[in-house]
């Protein structure tokens, strides 16, 4: 599914990057070592972590986008890094669980 379609259906806010790419598969979790070994290329990564290291992990794993749950805000240096590294960051007021359920429903 295209990120733009996901943004439209779940009313997501685009914090950084563009939504032209598609995502394939989802990983949800906050521990960076876990994410580092489980986020696959083109995955959507849902997390409540919002520091600059999230951007490094998203870049290294080649995630399609980071989706920040519960309206957490990227710290300024992370936002800057996301823009520099061309990482798409999305945001939603929903919890990680709610986002997983909604995305699961969309995939059916």
């Amino acid at each position: 599914m295209k990120l733009s379609e996901l943004c439209e259906k779940l009313s997501l806010t685009v914090i950084a990057g563009d939504t032209d790419a598609s995502f394939d598969g989802v990983y949800a979790g906050d521990l960076l070592s876990r994410a580092m070994s489980h986020v696959e290329a083109e995955n959507l990564w849902i997390t409540i972590m919002s520091n600059i290291n999230v951007i490094a992990v998203a870049s290294l794993t080649e995630a399609a986008a980071v989706l920040l749950a519960e309206d957490v805000e990227l710290v300024p240096e992370a936002l800057e890094a996301a823009r520099t590294k061309d990482i798409t960051v999305l945001s939603s007021p929903m919890t990680v669980y709610e986002l997983c359920v909604k995305i699961g429903e969309l995939s059916l």
Binding site: D30, L32, S33, M36, S37, N53, A56, V57, L60, E77
Partner: protein
């Protein structure tokens, strides 16, 4: 850095290629930078995605460990015909019990570090899991050197 295209890196790898990085201690803003650079270089050299992924994970975990526990250190990545070798050398506190540190979930990271999403206790286990060999040479009060190898053409 030599410019080697994806098609012919194998033929031109007559001498090893070396990358060196000074990893800045306690600087979480730049933590992961060396890994990102290595990943970019390996991609330019035309390595397959799974090799790049394994090197990225092992290198990132090692880099983060040096930042969290050892006030930084030196990272060297060497590419030759047979292996990608990552050597991480620090003059930190050393690892008192290596087998304990190798257990998944065991971590001595401070609470402030955990709040950033680190300290899952997966660093060393991930480094071992994603490389073909890993040697830890550590002395308490002196430092730690970790050598990881990822085999090519296997």
């Amino acid at each position: 850095m030599k410019a080697v295209s994806a098609e012919n890196w194998g033929m031109l790898m007559s001498e090893p290629i070396n990358f060196h990085f000074d990893v800045d201690g306690e600087n979480f803003s730049s933590a992961g930078e060396a890994s990102v650079v290595v990943k970019k270089k390996l991609r330019q050299l035309g390595f397959p995605p799974d090799v790049i992924r394994r090197v990225s994970i092992a290198m990132y975990e090692g880099e983060i460990n040096m930042v969290i526990h050892a006030n930084g250190g030196d990272a060297d990545v060497t590419v030759d015909d047979d292996f990608i070798t990552i050597v991480l050398k620090d003059t930190g506190p050393g690892i008192p019990d290596v087998s304990l540190a190798m257990q998944e979930g065991y971590s001595t990271a401070r609470e402030s570090i955990r709040a950033l999403g680190f300290g899952a206790g997966m660093g060393l286990p991930n480094m071992k899991k994603y490389t073909d060999s890993m040697e830890i040479d550590t002395t308490v009060g002196v430092g730690t050197t970790i050598t990881m190898k990822i085999a090519l053409n296997s």
